[in-house]
Amino acid sequence: MSDGSERPPLIELSGIGKTFGGVTALSNVDFVLREGEVHGLVGENGAGKSTLMKIIAGVHTEFEGSYRLDGQPVRLRSTRDALARGIGMVHQELSIVPHLSVAENVFLGNQPVSSLGVVRWRHMAREAEAHLKNLGIEVDPTVEAGSLSLGLQQLIEIGRVLFSGARIIILDEPTSALSPPEVERLFQVIDRLRQGGKSFIFISHFLDDVLAISDTVSIFRNSRHVRTAPAAELDKGQIIELMIGRGHEELEESYLGTLELPPASTAPTLLEVRGLTLKGAFEELDLAVHEGEALGIYGFMGCGQLELVRALVGKLKADRGTLVIGGVERRLANTAAGKRAGVALVPESRRSMLFADSPIYRNISISVLERISRWLVKPVAERQLAREKIEELRIRAGSETVALRTLSGGNQQKVALARWLAYRPNVLVLAEPTRGMDVGAKDDVVKIIRALKEQKMGVIVVSTEPETVLSLADRILVMRRGRFTREFVAEAVGKDQLLAAA
């Protein structure tokens, strides 16, 4: 890795600030990207790195501070404008069109046409193949892009961005869903392009990957830039420390300190999983939840945790492995079977669990209708139940008959919880239970879960936010790329250790 400071800066940002409705996302940030450089951006969720990258890529066009490209001040109007100036972006969610061929994807939006307006297919295929080969990607340009591995699709998207003229490529979490050999290949391609003078901004939670490929690393914390240094001068421990911030100025805000986890539970096992495998999502997972215990599962976005929770309740079927619930081995045909077996899930997205146009009471009673009524619905009993839950969970709602969509996000989330509190499953699985909640509502969730544990329910909390897992769990499993990498039990654990294990 050469000394990048000799080369001229391509992008120079100084004094960048950005607020969203009064909330500061970036404050007085400086950033420099040089030609032929791979620049890693790291920081926790919400530290400001995605806001910065969106400013660079022309997504956010209103901000404070100056943006210079090739030494000239610029004002990007759109992402299209950014691409025209040579700045391209590859998102974590790829924009490959799965049913089009590799060549069509490479040429997407500017297919070569003859003077008659007919697409020049053979020309296109030849060009695409040669272009990809140039990057060291050997692939048949006529196959459907969707049939290729995720790693190849990503390389093809990088190829497309380059083909449309980019010399600066922003990669957002490029390695999160890749296997180690695929990561290796991606790095080879990046390295080759770097030697050819292309520059990269590499945003990732995977610090090992960032250190392996970057020339320079910039660390963000709480909307501020804290440090930029050559990758060779940094190690993972230092980066984590800088990301979390041990300095006293942010002590209350982001640093929870270490937490003493309670001793391992000796209560009866409610749910046990052995060797659970779903291809492309997770492999050989073992876990157990005991009575009155909250198990936390921490991992970055895309590590397979969302598929795992779906497999636990019967929404997804695992390829292999056993699921033992209440001492009985089960094959859950659907979520109804999962519910009968005593396992329920509150998924991570509100939209996929709530009936926005239905009254609150129907949103709550849906899980227990069969207990309230055999044949005929009993709205009076349902509304009574809803009123109890509204009071118990301190849901702010005018009445139990108003449409759910009139509630605030945090209160909607509580309605989803209320549904399962009414049913009382043996094991309740919560994905991102506090996402988008204010501090008061988060506290309420902590209390609710404590109450559930006292009622001997088993709870599984899955989150990409270390604070959520730390504040709710008695025992923590760290998940990385579809596998559990570490278990924290009966020991002191802090955010830094979680980050290091993930």
Binding site: F355, I366, W375, V377
Partner: protein
């Protein structure tokens, strides 16, 4: 008051369309506003009403059934096939006692609905495509059974319910009323009905709430086929004959009745009261146009335009409601 109106706007908008149509036809034709004609309209919408009852269930779950008319035709022909026909009707029919003929016809309707349900929930074929195939299968069954002939005889019970009357009231109107009433009861007051609305409102959420979504969807497809089958049998008696393609108009009419009434094609909103208003809009329109003196070819176009207008009004009514 305002809230009450807003909440029912999806039902009120088609009601306004209906009153508007009635007002127009009353002023345009002296023969429209008679007791006799009102009875006519009731009779004319009865078969559509039976089909539309089942279709309301289907559409409330955000599915569609394009095979309703074709299943009605096949089941109507089947019940005639199991009844002794006059010697000059050249059909290789299998005469059975009336009760068995009806039983077999109903079982056939359930079986056709079962196949549709299997295709949709087990294999995963979108209902639009699956029922398009079933539409062709129903037409094929009809064609094979009658082979271009016309059958006339049906079991006595079917004949009475389809074309008889009691105390001056046609049985078919009573049956249609019964279907609508039971449909409304099931949708509004039973657990199953609640699940139908919830699955239509947000299928994924219903699944996460532990509702057996596939079972509900399968059930509504079978209910749809059952209603179509009954309508087909009574229709044969109503028209006095069983032949190919005799129900073709009922596909559009029944879908139009449900949707014009304000039941959302995206599921979860609407119900039998909406369907009833939709049936009357359609019935008044079809009947009223016969009472006014305009070019009969132009009437087809006018009918289409009025249906379009009704749908546009519904869309705006739903927007107002959402705001």
């Amino acid at each position: 008051m305002k809230v009450w109106v807003l909440r029912r706007l999806t039902a009120i908008a088609p009601l306004i369309t209906l009153l508007f149509l009635v007002a127009i036809f009353v002023s345009a034709s002296p023969s429209f506003a008679t007791i006799d004609n009102a009875a006519n309209i009731l009779r004319q919408v009865s078969i559509t009403a039976i089909i539309a009852t089942g279709l309301t269930f289907v559409i409330l779950t955000a599915e569609i059934d394009l095979s309703v008319a074709s299943v009605a035709n096949a089941v109507g022909i089947l019940v005639a096939f199991f009844t002794l026909q006059a010697a000059y009707v050249n059909i290789a029919n299998v005469p059975l006692p009336g009760g068995f003929a009806i039983l077999f016809a109903i079982m056939a309707a359930l079986a056709l609905g079962g196949i549709t349900a299997f295709g949709v929930v087990v294999i995963g074929i979108p209902s639009f495509i699956m029922t398009l195939a079933m539409m062709q299968i129903g037409a094929g069954i009809s064609a094979l059974l009658v082979r271009g002939q016309i059958a006339y005889n049906v079991p006595d019970l079917v004949k009475t319910l389809g074309s008889g009357s009691i105390a001056g009231i046609p049985w078919i109107v009573i049956v249609a009323t019964l279907f609508l009433a039971v449909g409304h009861f099931v949708l509004s007051y039973t657990r199953f009905g609640r699940y139908v609305y919830m699955v239509g409102g947000n299928r994924e959420a219903a699944e996460y709430a532990g509702v057996n979504v596939k079972l509900i969807v399968a059930a509504v497809m079978i209910i749809g086929a059952f209603c179509s089958g009954v309508a087909g049998m009574l229709g044969v008696a109503y028209y006095g004959s069983a032949q190919q393609n005799q129900f073709d108009d009922f596909l559009l009419d029944s879908i139009a009745a449900v949707v014009v009434g304000g039941t959302s094609l995206f599921g979860g909103r609407g119900g039998i009261p909406n369907t009833i208003i939709g049936l009357f809009v359609l019935g008044v329109l079809n009947n009223g146009l016969d009472h006014v003196d305009i070019d009969s070819f132009l009437k087809i176009l006018i009918r289409g335009l009025i249906l379009l207008l009704a749908l546009v009004i519904n869309v705006y009514a739903q927007k107002i409601r959402a705001d």
